[in-house]
Symmetry: C2
Subunit: 557 residues, 2 copies
């Protein structure tokens, strides 16, 4: 035991981003101090009926609140900062560290939740370090689909942990700076304890294309376009937005912005100097009709087919003033986030139907990914030469493929970890092992309710969505004598007007079941309910091969 | 008017497969006679809550039953033959023409619906023609992901219409015969009135790979595999299944089949001579455990992540006797049909988590598409040189891209049609135009109900799925005096145990609304209901930012 105390060890504990794409959150601990890296949200998958967001379960952090020294943010995407309002509400005032644009975007989020005044934000330049408790946290520039993204090197007593987060190696980025491969190489030479690296694109062979490649497609589209141009893109992709402004300048078009997040982000990014907007080019979207169609570009949200976003409304034909038609050009300059493919496809279909020429990812180079492909992942591994490796930010197939790559490159199998969320892994130069496992997982946000939608509610929503509900309502007196009903009411089950027979027959069966209960002197509600349910369950299924939720409701007067 | 009578014209009328992938169905008419081509189903998209299948609306055919001369089938996939049981039930006994395997697969479907004895199936060899009414229908072999697929040349008095259906040009197919490009060229030389061609892969540049390419991946995987191998594939992809048998033979493994459709299709295909199963290679899936793992292959269903299919159960760990673990190999030899990507991804994740090595489309050549890519589509256009062109089998984006290709290749814009379903288009050597529009669209099948699920039921299922239902139940007497309740019951709304306050407050508001009604002497049910609803609607939303379906239920004694 005394030996263990002499070994310099550090613990890592993932609370999100493993076995999933989204809600990234990682904890590093040493000397009883906790450092948090990122706090993201995840968009719900289909089986999470009605859920708005998913955030990490931070029970462990609540229990160890006093030990938290700070939160370091890698970049300003929602899957890395979107969970902060929820986290801060529970954990109180924790200092937050990040680059200028990251904090600028976070500020907007915190304002929405009235949390800004209470929060201590500390700005760090890429290439600089900051002490957070006993951790020296170094911000290392990386390329990604948002400006000002960083990997972190967390210098611990057991050695540096490189948290590469989301990155790619863009040799010709839009804004000059490339991923700081020199510093990564230096760290690799000195000895990296562990690398945590982005697995999103682990399925993709080769290299991810440069953002510069998109420029060619954008310029060609602008050159070919005869009428109005609409470009839909992620509002956070400042480099992409810059390229649209540049092309508009070159082809002598005015730019109008549409969609709240587009307006906000362009505002923040140009205020902070991340966006260079040529003078006089910006016009109000209400003024679009005052210009000839071949003189304007509309830069809008909706690249994900979000029902209320600008492009989606335009495609549907219910945007309050912008229409689209023959001869217009639409660039959908984004990829569909998993789960959105159908909505995006639907929007593109509608735009084609309205006569527009649509240029989208599947048929052109109008978008490149922000995530490293296999060759870049291998290079990151070779640059940093880590003792331990953790593939992160991916579903299990991505993590396993990335683990395979790491093993081929430089890390022995026993030093590669694909932990469960909540696994606390002790790392030292001598050994790495799972030392503990704490509560972790997901918390569902639905409306203003955080965590109150669980498995029971979800199961009911699923059942209701599949075959609806059939209610049997009856009023009885104390002796179990039926005073009114049974009435059958359905929603989402059958079209009532055409199903009179079925409902009549079902009502008769319920009546019979109740009469039997009365005869037998059964007055206990739970028995009455199960008798009613039994009388209908199989019957309904055999009659129409559907299983609605059957809900007996008894009123007593 | 008399001129029109002298022009030899024919009409085409699509009832499915335009603006969608699935439920393909086309009508050709001349001399008051109707020929039907295919009758498929479509799998429901997410917004069709609880719907099992979508089939074409055949109101027009029902009204013109006496004019129908027959149904010609291009191939045996469900999106081309799956709607026949529903169609035959309504239209009665219509002669059906198809190739041997197509009819073999159809026979199974008809048996399930007890329709086989009543149906007249007529077998046609590829390369041969058959007279259906005044139509001469020629079956022309094409390559596709199912054996015995054909394009049709329907010889009409206005000229031949080539209905290319689903196809690709595989220069090295598994079973010898390539797409009959010679006959297509001949038709093109003689003059084709119209071409209907497959748009599924219109987004894909270049050529679709040959089925032979898959052989390399399968053989490499078999060579590398150390333990058990599971191959999941479409049960209808007989060529793929043949390749698995061939590889098993080569690497000295036994083959077990799992999944009802796999057993059925292997049975049908080998009976009809489309599958060559080496003697002694087939074992019962219950006997898998009697062989060493490196001596067996399991050929299973579940390549689409279907919840009850063999592979899905194995991945979930609840297959009744087959398990998977470290060292086992799984080949998912199929592509995810749109809408299934998430389910397939989930299955693959689970297999990786169980320790299996999973080989799937995104990371290998374990699957090739059955549909022609752009260069093949152009070749089809150039071979047939049609006067009129109809891109079919695709969503609107595919159809528009295919139309663009056709225009680049050989068809003037005004001769390219992307009709709505139900548009009746008159074609003659002189002109092509939409002459009429009849009722067409979709019919939803849910359980044994055909067409009884419509917009009202779907809207309710959607509302229920998002925020559940809140019922307010009250018993009153004739004078509107409350005798019992109001009671609030919810399903899929909140976790009731933790939401006591909310429900109590809501109950109080409903009580107050009822008391006001009593005071004002309101006894009319519809007014009572809307008063109850009004008392809760905004309140609930402001309290928890959710909009459950609010359903007041009044009982009178």
């Amino acid at each position: 035991m005394s030996l263990n105390n002499q070994i310099d060890s550090v613990s890592v504990l993932p609370l999100g981003g493993i076995g999933e794409i989204g809600k990234n959150m990682m904890i590093i601990e040493q000397n009883d101090e906790i450092l948090i890296i990122d706090a993201g949200i995840k968009f719900p998958t289909d089986e999470l009926y009605g859920v708005d967001y998913v955030i990490p379960d931070i029970t462990y952090l609540l229990k160890n609140k006093d030990r938290i020294k700070g939160i370091a943010l890698t970049h300003g995407h929602m899957d890395h900062i979107g969970g902060l309002p929820y986290v801060l509400k529970q954990l109180g005032d924790i200092p937050i560290y990040g680059t200028k644009l990251t904090l600028g975007l976070l500020r907007g989020k915190l304002e929405e939740h009235n949390l800004l005044s209470d929060t201590y934000l500390r700005h760090v330049y890429p290439g600089h370090s900051v002490d957070i408790g006993s951790f020296e946290v170094e911000f290392i520039r990386v390329n990604h689909s948002i400006s000002d993204a960083c990997a972190l090197a967390v210098h611990t007593k057991a050695g540096p942990i490189v948290y590469a987060s989301d990155f790619k190696l863009d040799q010709t980025p839009i804004s000059g700076d490339i991923t700081d491969i020199h510093r990564l190489a230096e760290l690799g030479k000195e000895g990296v304890l562990a690398l945590f690296s982005d697995s999103t694109n682990a399925e993709h062979e080769g290299y991810t294309s440069s953002e510069k490649e998109v420029q060619k497609t954008i310029e060609k589209s602008f050159a070919d376009a005869e009428q109005k141009i609409i470009v839909a893109s992620f509002a956070s992709n400042i480099h992409r937005i810059q390229q649209v402004f540049d092309a508009a300048q070159k082809f002598n078009r005015k730019v109008a912005l549409s969609g709240r997040s587009m307006l906000n982000n362009v505002d923040i990014a140009s205020d902070l100097g991340y966006l260079d907007i040529p003078e006089g080019i910006l016009i109000d979207s209400n003024d679009v009709d005052n210009y000839p169609p071949h003189k304007v570009v509309l830069l809008s949200t909706g690249s994900q087919g979000e029902p209320m976003a600008a492009l989606t409304r335009i495609a549907r034909g219910d945007h309050y003033h912008i229409s689209i038609g023959d001869g217009d050009t639409v660039l959908v300059s984004a990829t569909a986030i998993p789960g959105n493919a159908k909505a995006v496809g639907h929007t593109i279909n509608q735009l084609f139907e309205r006569g527009a020429d649509v240029i989208y990812e599947a048929i052109s180079g109008v978008h490149v990914s922000g995530h490293a492909s296999q060759e870049e992942l291998k290079l990151m591994l070779n640059l940093t030469r880590p003792q331990y490796f953790f593939p992160v930010h991916g579903e299990y197939r991505h993590l396993h493929l990335h683990a395979k790559l790491a093993n081929e490159v430089c890390v022995p199998k026993e030093n590669i970890f694909i932990p469960d969320l909540g696994d606390k892994i002790s790392l030292s130069k001598e050994q790495g092992y799972v030392e503990d496992s704490v509560r972790a997982g997901r918390v569902l946000v639905d409306g203003s309710g955080v965590g109150d939608v669980g498995n029971v509610v979800l199961r009911d929503r699923r059942l209701l969505s599949e075959n609806g509900i059939l209610m049997v309502v009856v009023t009885i007196d104390r002796n179990g004598k039926v005073l009114s009903g049974p009435d059958i009411i359905t929603r989402g089950f059958v079209y009532v007007r055409e199903s009179g027979d079925l409902i009549r027959d079902a009502t008769r069966r319920a009546e019979k079941a109740l009469a039997e209960c009365e005869e037998e002197g059964i007055t206990e509600w739970s028995t009455l309910k199960s008798k009613i349910r039994d009388s209908l369950d199989d019957y309904i299924y055999h009659r129409i091969k559907r299983n609605p939720m059957i809900l007996p409701i008894i009123m007593e007067v």
